[in-house]
Symmetry: C2
Subunit: 307 residues, 2 copies
């Protein structure tokens, strides 16, 4: 059986635990592939090797422990080179990041992780409270509204007979989860304030969370400002993009910018995404080079060009 | 390529998207396999088919989407039978569960999910605050102590220059995560009170969280009281147990009861786990049949028998 694995040193084709073909990254390639490594993008060399070894089983984060161990055994043959490449990329990282980029990326990551936690805990509360009053969960789909209705109203139970004290424990738990939700809303306001100082054009055109996610995926505002607009158009849709490269399926027309109202409202969403990505790139460039504020004009231009 | 998949209807061996061998569960088997289905245990029939088709690739929760889709296509051929088996198991569930079992299982699940969330969010805060004051994270390993020290002390920064306001956002975030941690401690006390009423012997011998986890994995106190003590000994180590069945690797000597101080302190941990499991089973039986409270005596017996 053939296996293919990619790591910080290069791309390897493995048969019977031996490397039968490989491509080692040069330092130049590492920089070129900087975003690709960080975001698990497919590079040209990787595509070439995957085509050459069509039957190879690709070892990735979803593979079983056994295969991941095989992949790490291969990497251990290149320990020193891996160390050097890591140092090289970290230095590159530090050169390209500013305190503002750090704060924006940390804040959007915190927001996303609070969303995950609130969902996890709200699901638990739904199941728990569902034994006592099953209908409420069906009535209210939105997690935050569900938690709020649970903390404010006392309903007659139709389910299992819990004691008053038992129900109060669930309600108090819901209050703590709501406190976490309020923190998320605080952080969204803080993120908006950060973006206003640091990247006002991008904020105006994309809104705080979408703009921050674009900066996060790119690694920094500097990286984002240097991308081709076609890359900005599909940032966040890497999976679909590789499927396109590998299998010839349709290429993705949009990544996370799909959530922007201009794309949402458009009939031709692909065309809208392309137009929006062009203007987002312009905003990123203006913000990175401390140019003037014209995003309000770009926004009204876009609204006239609805597709 | 051969595939093997198990679902609520039975066990199937697949070749070229066709079923070439199968074992359908009878209702009796469903009850017998009740815990096995819930906890992904391996049954005798499954073992037999795995031995017969040694090369078969087992499709499970860790398999890629493609294989999982193949498995669900097979299941869709038995839709009506799946529906009936589901109803049957749910009825069985409802017959065997009491309000106390529900509360205990929900509370321990809530505690475990709060632990997960606190870890996720504390990791984020470590990374975020680490840019400002990198040393603190290395100094304090424990997440809760780390969050506490962050909310009480103001340190001189050695890292990136954040504004005072930026740091305050992190500190306030840490406070909210600590509030969640306090809720976890509340729920642990509540769990102890529930166990005291419902399962005093098991509480005395195992402590609240371990006892609750045993009840949770078993599905109810009733199920736990009916297990052989060898099953209690390895509850929570199902993965290692299947590896033993499949590959002849060493069988596991203990499951989650490993965390019990009696096993922790023992030199011969396997023997200690067997002794403890015997006494835990006795406690579960006494509690389920509302017998007398003797766990204090069992506990001092155990202490004398240290192995």
């Amino acid at each position: 059986m053939l296996f293919l694995t990619k790591n910080i040193v290069g791309i390897f084709v493995i048969k019977d635990n031996k490397i039968i073909d490989k491509h080692l990254f040069s330092e130049n390639e590492l920089i070129e592939n900087y975003v690709s490594l960080k975001n698990n993008l497919e590079t040209a060399e990787e595509k070439r090797l995957k085509e050459k070894y069509k039957d190879a089983f690709v070892i990735n984060v979803n593979s079983s422990e056994k295969y991941k161990k095989m992949a790490s055994n291969i990497l251990s043959q290149y320990k020193e080179r891996a160390r050097q490449n890591n140092i090289f990329l970290t230095k590159h990282d530090l050169k390209n990041i500013t305190p503002e980029s750090i704060l924006i990326i940390q804040t959007i990551d915190a927001i996303d992780e609070i969303i995950k936690s609130v969902n996890l805990l709200a699901k638990r509360i739904r199941e728990w409270y569902g034994w006592y009053y099953p209908e409420l969960s069906f009535k209210i789909d939105d997690n935050v509204l569900f938690l709020k209705s649970l903390t404010t109203k006392r309903k007659e139970s139709m389910g299992v007979a819990f004691e008053k004290e038992d129900v109060e424990h669930i309600m108090d738990f819901a209050k703590v989860v709501l406190r976490l939700q309020i923190k998320k809303e605080d952080l969204e306001m803080y993120l908006t304030a950060l973006m206003k100082k640091f990247s006002p054009n991008l904020l105006e055109l994309a809104g705080a969370t979408l703009a921050a996610r674009l900066i996060k995926i790119a690694g920094s505002l500097k990286n984002l400002a240097r991308f081709p607009s076609g890359t900005i158009q599909i940032l966040g849709a890497e999976k679909a993009f590789f499927r396109f490269l590998r299998t010839g399926a349709k290429p993705p027309k949009y990544g996370i910018i799909y959530e922007h109202p201009f794309v949402q409202k458009a009939k031709n969403k692909g065309k809208a995404a392309r137009k929006l990505a062009n203007k987002l790139l312009l905003c990123a460039k203006l913000d990175f080079y401390k140019g003037e504020f014209i995003a309000d004009k770009l926004k009204s231009q876009l609204e006239k060009e609805a597709v």
